[in-house]
């Protein structure tokens, strides 16, 4: 079943004389329980793509259908509800709120949207156990490490069981050890918790944890590779090959 369907998506910036085609007719789908990575060099349009799917940016034309709903037709109020029910976010520099404890940070959206109080505690404990952060729940964000923070963000993204988790360079601010732990967490979220993840990255190592990788260049889809039964290391080499072909960032 498809969770996300992107149809002939276009996003243009600028005025009549000077148009930048950030997204130029992009179409693809993401199925349930898939872990998709989108790669591309800086300026290729990958963040714009993620922002349009996140409902942060509007589109010039085309459709984005998430869970059967075309989000390009929703108004601001409806989008807010839509995000709450369907989307989870893990962004590289979306900090946690300093004034709240880790527990409150994870539960923030539930609390503000007035879920049953007893249920909230159970949900938070449950998800934080799975992500290995149950012992820091009563600490404040400035008391925990960067890797832990990003796992807290992941927990926050997962807590209301969203249809789609959107991640923008989630390992960007982490060292390699913590990056690996986070990516393994993502994999577990995908395999054990059945989360559907769409991750934007320019890092081949991160992308190699996904099931499928889409490559974007100049606002268009350039290539697509599927992991299938391959080992992660083999998949990594394959990604590097495509990147070389792409002439982009091969970090």
């Amino acid at each position: 079943m498809e969770v996300l369907k992107v149809n002939n998506l276009k996003k243009y910036y600028g005025n009549n004389n000077n148009i930048t085609k950030a997204l130029n007719n992009i179409s693809f789908t993401v199925n349930n329980n898939e872990f998709l990575a989108i790669m591309g060099a800086s300026g290729s349009g990958k963040t714009t793509l993620l922002n349009t799917i996140s409902t942060i940016d509007s589109v010039t034309s085309g459709n984005i259908i998430i869970n059967g709903i075309d989000i390009t037709n929703l108004n601001e109020e409806e989008l807010s509800d839509f995000r709450k029910d369907n989307l989870g976010f893990v962004f590289q520099d979306f900090n946690l709120l300093d004034t709240l404890t880790i527990k409150e940070n994870i539960a923030l959206s539930l609390i503000i949207n007035k879920k049953d109080k007893n249920k909230i505690d159970d949900l938070v404990l449950d998800i934080s156990k799975k992500l290995g952060i149950s012992d820091i729940l009563n600490k404040y964000p400035y008391e925990v490490s960067g890797g832990q923070k990003q796992r807290v963000t992941s927990a926050r993204a997962l807590i209301n069981n969203p249809k789609l988790i959107l991640a923008d360079e989630p390992t960007g601010a982490l060292d390699s050890k913590n990056a690996r732990i986070l990516l393994e967490t993502f994999k577990e979220m995908n395999e054990d918790l059945n989360a559907t993840i769409l991750m934007v990255t320019h890092d081949a190592f991160s992308a190699s944890f996904a099931n499928r990788v889409l490559f974007i260049k100049d606002g268009k889809i350039f290539n697509e590779i599927i992991k299938g039964k391959k080992k992660r290391e083999e998949f990594y080499d394959e990604i590097i090959d495509v990147l070389t072909l792409l002439g982009g960032d091969t970090k």
Binding site: N51, S54, T55, I56, D57, E76, E77, S80, D81, F82, R83, K84, D85, L87, F89, F94, N95, L97, D98, T99, L100, L108, S109, I111, I112, N113, R156
Partner: protein
Amino acid sequence: MLFKLAISNAKRSIKDYLIYVVTITIAFSLMFSFNLISNSKDILELADMMKNFRIAVVFVSLIVCFVLGFLINYMIKFIFKRRSKEFGLYLLLGIKKKDISKMFILENLILGFISLVLSFFVGILLSTIISSIILNIFNAPYLVKLPTDYLVPFSLSLGYFLLIYIVVLFLTKRRIKRLKIHDLLYYDSINEKNRTTKNKSIISFINSLILIIGGLFIFNNEFKGVGIEPDTLLVLLSIVLLIVGIYLFVSSFADAILILILKHKKLKYNKDNLFIIRQFNAKVKTMKLSLGTLSLLITLTLVSLTFSLMFNSIFEIQIDTSAPYDVTIIDDEENFDKYINHIKKDYTIEEVFIYHEYFNDINYINDTLSEDYRGWRGTDTYLKLSDYNKLLELKGRNPITLNNDEYYIHTSNSSYNGIMDIIDTLDTIKVGDKALKLKDITDSYYTSSWSFGNGFVIVVPDSIINNLKEESDTLVVDTKEETDEKLNNELINILNNDICETDPDTGVVYCYASANVFVKGYYMATNKSVMTIMDFTLFYLAFIFTVVTGTIISVQSINDAINYKKYYDTLNKLGLSKRKILKTVRKQLLIYFLFPVTLPFIINFFITVSLNHVFAPFLATNNAYLTFILLSSSLFLIIYLIYYLIAYFSFKRCLEY
């Protein structure tokens, strides 16, 4: 949860923006204390004129509301911008905009409310201090006591508070409503603009100078001297030119100076110039509108401070020129006993002095003096040297000496120029058959009651007084106690009974002789009221303007420390020692703080010079205005310096040096 978040955010804001919270607390405290004082019976009953205090305070409070509204609006915008990512996150989590704006508004209301509640306590304390100062000015007995009537002042303060917050929070709500989630998440990437449009900014800069000079020129032209009525429209025009000029100057100066420095390699590569000027340029451009408003506020602060100092001095001199003695009465000598007996009832008389004014057959001065300077009397006023010296002595001045063939002129400031015009004809005068040479002429510490109907007196040696004719008699009484308004009214009644008559048919009062009463206490009370009202309200206003400016500039520079910490780290890595970086910071802050101040200082100087044309005759010396400029500037700078120091130390703390 919304409430809990709001509270913890408010707590954090108090910590992060302590200067701001303290400033509005002080501002609200002053506002409340002025409401308390202007509604206090003790103060209002000090003098008849004091009733106007209440109106003046309401008027000034409204201006203060406006300025505080500006500050609070600015700070709310500022805090919102700094936390835009956080708000973006809320939106991303599916929290509705309505809830976010509710939370943010609640947060700011909590902050405001804390300040308001604190201000009630501080305000009561302040009001007792200010009351004691006012009572002291009026020499009234003072017991330390708390204000008694709270209802009116309290409601007024609450009203002003609500007025400010309703408007500001309404604006905030509208601003949030218009924001898109994308703008919030990427707010900091559209931070400071750095496009230099060379020619345009140089033209604007030159235009701004033209506007300011033009404005000052027109203003100066309208205030040429005493008695020349300024054209209201032209004065307004000059003010508009100055305001537009200030805004234009502030917005184009940074570019103009940048272009200048980039052109000159010597300046450009001298020490940290390049870094400082680039930072300064970016900063000024992003906040040029606010900086313009701040410059305007500072101009108002300085002008109102100078003005009130000037008026203070004028009033003091006024008392000295109109009524330096406790009681002065000009009437016929035979009536003086009546007055003395009346004064005796309530006062202890220390000294009674009676003297005569004389006139000569030839009027050397009044017949040649230009009409602008002539009094209504027609004849020249002569005083005996011994009388004159006695009058000086009573005023606490040193006596003068004259040879038998000399005479002396003492003139008021306003007649001085007129007499100097004809000074050539006054070299020698004849009194009877005796010729007298002019020894000297002075215009300082003149008293108008010396010569009834003229702006000058001619002092001649006692020996020739028989050659002159007696004109009028003056009684001077020195009392032990300070006189008051009541005595003045009673003495005027006695005088009017003598010389005036009421027409029984029409009820119109006719007076048949020119006589007058000057009681020091009356002038003191009137002048003190006007002075108190003006000083306290203008100082109040000036203080608020100063702290608002100080707060905004400090908060902005502390923000820079947080935002640009990495720049300073880079400078450090490039080989600049920490000590030198702190020097750079001090220089940078000095420029930030001085930039909105410099132009107001210049404008204040020229406006005061212009006003001095009108007021100089009433001031002790022609250069007294320089003292006022100096004093007002120092008063402003002292408070401003506190903010500079706070900003510097916060900056230092942020850089962790």
